[in-house]
């Protein structure tokens, strides 16, 4: 005998799994700190690559001037400036990433909580059905 209530619940759960369940489950498999730090690492990598591309663009733009003045400029001061810009750029980007991933983790956990509650309800329905069968 098919239980209508159970099918409804299972449909809802399956629909959730199909839409965002997998993603949320993946997020939920991490501890908060691990999840955020892993993504911050990725963000820092992205920011480094982006910064390198921007610097490359600047160098290409001013290449003639750069090549002619390469022996005149204070390399150490130049590198210091570059590192300062890099730290500022990456720092801001990482901060934004932290906020975004912290929010994402919280939301995913909330949805997972609802999902697990529904799973518990489903389990109760199964137990009831088994009891009915035995009687």
């Amino acid at each position: 005998m098919i239980s209508e209530q159970r099918v409804k619940l299972m449909t809802r759960l399956a629909a959730y799994e199909q839409r965002e369940g997998k993603k949320n489950e993946e997020i939920g498999s991490y501890f908060r700190g691990d999840y955020i730090s892993f993504h911050i690492l990725k963000s820092a990598l992205s920011a480094t690559m982006a910064f390198a591309l921007i610097v490359a663009l600047f160098v290409l733009y001013d290449s003639e001037l750069f090549l002619s003045d390469i022996y005149k400029i204070d390399i150490l001061d130049y590198v210091k400036k570059l590192v300062l810009y890099y730290v500022a750029f990456t720092g801001i980007y990482v901060l934004i990433s932290y906020v975004i991933y912290a929010i994402r983790y919280r939301k995913a956990k909330k949805r997972l909580k609802v999902y697990f509650n529904n799973l518990k309800r489903l389990q109760i329905l199964y137990q009831r059905e088994r009891k009915d069968k035995l009687q």
């Binding site: 299972m10 449909t11 759960l13 963000s43 992205s46 690559m49 982006a50 591309l53 990433s97």
Partner: protein, 433 residues
């Protein structure tokens, strides 16, 4: 309005029913339009800028995820730009990479805006994009819109300066780079548009979230006006040569487009049919969950009938208000004049009955005699409105009458009558002489 609602419900129904086919068709059309627009504007590589290739690519995109359209579009534009100049391709490639690395890594769903914005710019309705994103998106959508505007202007600049770039071949690679970067960074029109669109998105977003009536409409109007204003100020400051008339007409057009979208897309939950599979110990379930529809199509006939009666009810309501107002004014006027004519005392010319909201009161007066006629209701069953009193009679309707007669000697009175059986009201104006 009811017709529109029914159309919307029908759309919902169709979307739910044919979702399996509609989504690939939509993707196919979006991809085809995008590729054709790219080929039409910057189709420098003739081998690739052919319709069959665009068609095949669009067919491929219709079965793959939405972001595949973006990847294909980016590659296609890069190929065309490469055919023009390697330096251009390098710069465009770097900008695409920056966009991906810094933003679209976070929100891959927003990537489609990057394609949609240039297409809307070409269709002369770019202002619809910030308004729409303000309505459905978040303030973060500012970045998506900005990326779209940047892509549009970069490709536009490359298209405009294709001849100049060819002429710069002799000056070397660096000169080309400098020329391109100068052109892109110094594009004031792009800068003004970026600011205008960013402000519009944020304004629309803030207003539509406010707890006020017609928040969405107000948000669209305010956003559109802010957009026009910023573009005009930008034009004055940097002489961007943005056509003012075009901006105003484009904004009006965008307003219309967004209103239509609001009605048919944004406010509606096209809750899609869910097709899920699961199993328990005994069965395999293949469930198709169809969303419920609130207004069903067969109700259209019923709507037509009720629409007519609703119109009647509306007319009745307006007429009732007019009659009760007239009666009240006349009664008050007559009472005042009676008092003035007969000395001290208060007089109310009123009759018992149901005349609008006028209270039926006995005339009170200690001074002179006030003549009142308190006719209680049933004036005449049917007739053409011949009044019981002598005088000029004007009728506005025919039918059973029940109501109140208010009149004083030498004063003009009104009779308000109601026919409860038919719900038709009439007013008699009697001039006593």
């Amino acid at each position: 309005m009811t017709q529109l609602l029914v159309i919307r419900e029908q759309l919902k129904k169709i979307c739910g029913k044919y979702e399996v086919y509609l989504i690939p068709i939509g993707k196919f059309l979006a991809a085809l339009i995008t590729f054709l627009v790219i080929n039409g504007n910057i189709g420098y590589m003739e081998k690739v800028a052919k319709f069959p290739i665009a068609l095949i690519l669009a067919l491929l995109c219709s079965f793959l995820p939405l972001n595949f359209i973006i990847i294909c579009s980016a590659l296609l534009s890069l190929v065309h730009v490469y055919a023009l100049s390697m330096e251009c391709a390098l710069i465009v490639g770097i900008i695409y990479l920056l966009m991906f690395l810094l933003y679209f890594r976070f929100s891959p769903k927003d990537t489609f805006v990057v394609i949609l914005t240039p297409i809307c710019c070409m269709l002369q309705i770019p202002y619809a994009i910030p308004m729409s994103l303000g309505l459905v998106g978040t303030p973060a959508s500012v970045v998506s819109v900005s990326c779209g505007v940047i892509v549009y202007h970069i490709l536009g600049y490359i298209k405009e300066s294709a001849n100049a770039l060819s002429a710069l071949d002799a000056d070397g690679v660096m000169a080309k780079f400098k020329y391109l970067i100068d052109g892109i960074v110094g594009n004031k029109e792009m800068l003004v548009m970026l600011i205008a669109f960013a402000v519009t998105v944020i304004l629309v977003y803030i207003i539509r979230r406010m707890n006020i009536d017609y928040a969405w409409t107000i948000a669209i109007i305010v956003g559109g006006l802010a957009d026009i204003l910023i573009l005009l100020i930008g034009d004055l400051m940097y002489t961007t040569n943005i056509p003012i008339l075009g901006v105003i007409l484009g904004s009006i057009l965008a307003f219309g487009v967004v209103k239509v979208l609001q009605f048919f897309v944004f406010n509606v939950d096209y809750a899609r049919t869910e097709r899920v599979q699961f199993e328990d110990d005994e069965y395999y379930y293949f469930v198709k969950a169809v969303p419920k529809i609130t207004i069903s199509t067969p109700e259209i006939k019923v709507k037509k009938v009720s629409g007519k009666s609703a119109e009647n009810a509306d007319v009745q309501e307006r007429s009732r208000e007019r009659v009760s107002k007239t009666v009240r004014e006349k009664a008050e006027g007559s009472a005042q004049r009676t008092v003035r004519a007969n000395g001290t005392g208060t007089a109310r010319a009123a009759g018992a009955g149901t005349s609008g909201s006028m209270p039926a009161k006995r005339p009170v007066g200690t001074g002179g005699v006030t003549r009142t006629a308190g006719s209680t209701g049933t004036a005449r069953p049917t007739g053409t409105g011949t009044a019981t009193r002598s005088g000029n009679v004007r009728t506005s309707a025919i039918g059973t009458a029940s109501g109140t007669v208010n009149h004083d000697r030498n004063l003009r009175s009104s009779i308000s009558q109601e026919a409860p059986t038919e719900g038709i009201r009439r007013t008699y104006h009697i001039d006593d002489k």
